[in-house]
């Protein structure tokens, strides 16, 4: 398989946990939102995804969590050609991907505890096997006293932390986070970063879209930079991977 020159360090599609080969994407009949992306992520890697507002960060994440299809190019996820994955098998892949949505997407009719437990229930786990873990996770993100609260009664930062708890509760193979520190203070931002690093250490591949340059610099993790739908930088920026 041919590789774009700028994608140095790219792994073969079957060794990478995620590989894009000349992938473009558009909404409906609109212009291309993402253009000719080629890159790959090694299992267990940790990357930031940066770029101005409207550059296409959320769109790129959508492709990865299978909520959008490439209009062109080849995409491999867990070593499988995404276009060849039968619809029936997609739920199983989605369960291996945790997503912190930019707009949270919490279920308003469920408590914080229920929202967090959702991925575990969908995966068919028995409540007794996870109720303590869920409680601990919620305590860890600072929602110990809000477990029984409905999302509508949570502050923006609390919702964000709840969305994060839900995304990581199932120990996903890939964690995608879209502006996960947008609504929290500096202190909590660092705490969340530490949670991600911890998960990454346990084997989860992490990709975080963010505007928070400070967070990127502090982490010292490599950056994928999008500019108007094109990938302009790949690899460590300002620090070691």
């Amino acid at each position: 398989m041919s590789r774009q020159p700028h994608a140095q360090g790219a792994l073969d599609a079957d060794r990478a946990i995620l590989a894009f080969d000349d992938v473009s994407m558009r909404y409906g009949r609109g212009p291309e939102t993402l253009k000719d992306l080629s890159f790959s992520l090694a299992p267990g890697s940790f990357h930031f995804l940066t770029g101005a507002s409207g550059a296409g960060k959320s769109s790129l994440l959508k492709l990865i969590y299978l909520a959008a299809k490439p209009s062109k190019g080849l995409m491999h996820l867990f070593g499988q050609d995404v276009s060849a994955i039968p619809v029936k098998e997609q739920p199983m892949l989605r369960r291996r991907i945790g997503v912190v949505f930019q707009e949270f997407r919490l279920l308003d009719h469920m408590t914080a505890f229920d929202n967090t437990a959702l991925p575990l229930r969908i995966a068919g786990r028995k409540p007794d096997s996870y109720r303590q873990d869920v409680a601990e996770l919620l305590a860890w993100v600072g929602l110990r006293s809000r477990m029984h609260a409905m999302p509508a009664t949570l502050a923006g930062g609390e919702k964000q932390r709840l969305a994060i708890a839900r995304a990581v509760v199932n120990r996903p193979d890939i964690l995608l986070a879209d502006e996960p520190t947008g609504n929290v203070d500096h202190e909590m931002g660092l705490r969340i970063l530490r949670l991600f690093v911890e998960l990454n250490r346990l084997g989860t591949t992490v990709l975080i879209a963010t505007h928070d340059q400070d967070l990127v610099a502090r982490s010292g993790k490599p950056v994928l930079h999008l500019e108007d739908g094109r990938l302009t930088a790949l690899g460590p920026v300002g620090g070691a991977a």
Partner: protein, 296 residues
């Protein structure tokens, strides 16, 4: 709320509870089901009424006998009755008494007239065999053979009109029922669609968290099928109560001659809740699948 105990936590339902919106949908669905059931009852009753009228008419013929020459009306009527009873396909034959014949003309001639002086024609009522009724011509021939001056009326003119009217009424009834049933089905489908689209966020979150399409579709299918079935039950029950009231007011043999409702007719409302539930289930499934398909 620090008194939350994870040890006692029980998973919440995947779908939000029914809210005011669902109440309005239930009401609309129940109303249309009520109308559809009521129409069904009306169609059945109309059909029964029409069959009743034509049954009464097919079984009978009337013969008007005019005495000729010196023969008394009574003897002419008696001879006619005898001649008629020999015809195949004829059951009981009854010459109506003078008083009855006179009573029939009384409204036109008035009580004052001395009817005894008038040569009032006599009527002979003929019961026909319902399976193989004698034709008017056969009756006519038998009377002619006896040299009687008589006119046979087998009600065929009336019968045709009534059968036409009854057939027409039945088709109108079936047409109206079909329209209302279709409208009820469409409302159930639209209501389901609206209710589900209002909760598209739930569909999306479950889908993205890795729930199988079928699992999601089933959640909504069960929810909306139950809602529509309950609404259908309300509508059907309402229509059945109306039918029962009609039946009770009509009394024994369907004395309301216009709409003779039978107790068994009330069974016709039974399929309504099931049909409403099925339509809602199918609509919910298709809508859920549509929402999911739109996401990728």
């Amino acid at each position: 709320m620090s008194d939350f105990d994870p040890g006692r936590w029980k998973p919440a339902p995947f779908l939000p509870e029914a809210d005011a919106r669902d109440g309005a949908l239930t009401f609309v669905v129940a109303t249309l089901c009520f109308l559809a059931c009521l129409t069904a009852l009306t169609v059945l009753a109309t059909d029964r009424a029409a069959r009743g009228w034509s049954d009464q008419l097919t079984g009978q013929a009337t013969v008007i006998v005019r005495p000729k020459g010196a023969e008394t009306p009574d003897s002419a009527a008696a001879r006619a009755a005898e001649a008629l009873s020999g015809v195949p396909g004829v059951g009981e034959v009854r010459a109506l008494e003078k008083e009855k014949a006179q009573a029939l003309v009384a409204p036109w001639l008035g009580d004052a007239a001395d009817l005894d002086d008038l040569p009032v024609p006599r009527l002979v009522a003929v019961e026909l065999d319902r399976k193989a009724p004698a034709t008017a011509q056969a009756l006519d021939r038998a009377l002619k053979a006896q040299g009687l001056d008589a006119v046979v009326d087998d009600h065929s003119v009336w019968l045709k009109d009534i059968q036409h009217a009854a057939g027409f009424a039945r088709w109108i009834g079936i047409g109206v029922f079909t329209l209302i049933a279709a409208a009820a089905g469409a409302v159930v489908a639209f209501a389901t669609r609206a209710g589900l689209t209002a909760r598209h966020e739930v569909v999306e979150v479950l889908h993205l968290a890795g729930a199988e399409d079928d699992f999601i579709a089933r959640l909504f299918q069960v929810r909306f099928a139950r809602m529509a079935a309950i609404a259908g039950l309300f509508g059907a029950t309402g229509a059945a109560i109306m039918g029962a009231i009609l039946r009770l007011m009509g009394g024994g043999q369907g004395l309301t001659p216009v709409l003779p409702v039978a107790w068994t007719d009330l069974l016709a409302v039974l399929p309504c809740p099931v049909a409403a539930g099925l339509v809602a289930a199918v609509a919910a499934r298709l809508t859920a699948q549509g929402l999911i398909a739109k996401m990728t």
